[in-house]
Symmetry: C2
Subunit: 127 residues, 2 copies
């Protein structure tokens, strides 16, 4: 038995899971998990989320092949957030082809693209 | 004028803001922002969130003095999450006294404390 219980109730069934590159520490993305996606993540060893837009379980990388292999998992003080350290297969976490979803910096109220584009989304997802 | 608009609607007025140490890359915490706390963050240069439990604006560190000075801000692909790189005044982000809220690793279904305790919460917040 586990010595902890994740508090899914506070976020109406969903908690944020931050995904960080296990070697560089770069934050790649944040997504949501419900109890089923958390169970699936533990079962498969790959990051599985709940897609709020598609309203379904979302095995990250199931279309692109860019899955996230779980290396380490951390729990926060309130048991309502997770930090996943992963190996990002294919090098890019973002559906736009950038390595990180946080590929834009906000400077003086404007965005500046600072991220690295790894793939062309048209080639991966089709047009 | 800004060249972006944060999508607060998707999360019923709240978006997650990940806080990362600007030098080490350590993820310190994740909290929520509404439009008012985002405006306050920009205005003050210090991280300001929305406390879901207290239902009020929350200038991080207002009680403990452990404010977070904003160094860099990044926006994600869907405009519904932020990444803040900060200087953590006092060295600890977590109200439990640990440097990071993610001070416990989950290993084989059990938690292991791996974080570093910086202060005694009783001394900072009283008993």
């Amino acid at each position: 038995m586990s010595d902890f219980a994740i508090d899914f109730a506070k976020g109406q069934g969903l908690i944020p899971a931050i995904v960080q590159d296990w070697k560089t520490g770069e934050v790649l993305m944040v997504a949501y998990m419900n109890a089923a996606s958390w169970a699936k993540t533990l079962e498969t060893g790959k990051a599985c989320f709940w897609s709020r837009s598609r309203k379904k379980l979302w095995l990250k990388g199931e279309t692109s092949g860019h899955v996230q292999i779980i290396k380490e998992i951390y729990l926060d003080c309130d048991q309502d957030a997770l930090l996943l350290k992963v190996e990002q297969v294919g090098g890019a976490a973002c559906h736009t082809g950038y390595r990180s979803c946080f590929y834009r910096q906000i400077v003086n109220g404007q965005t500046q693209v600072i991220g690295k584009r790894i793939f062309d989304p048209k080639e991966v997802y089709g047009e």
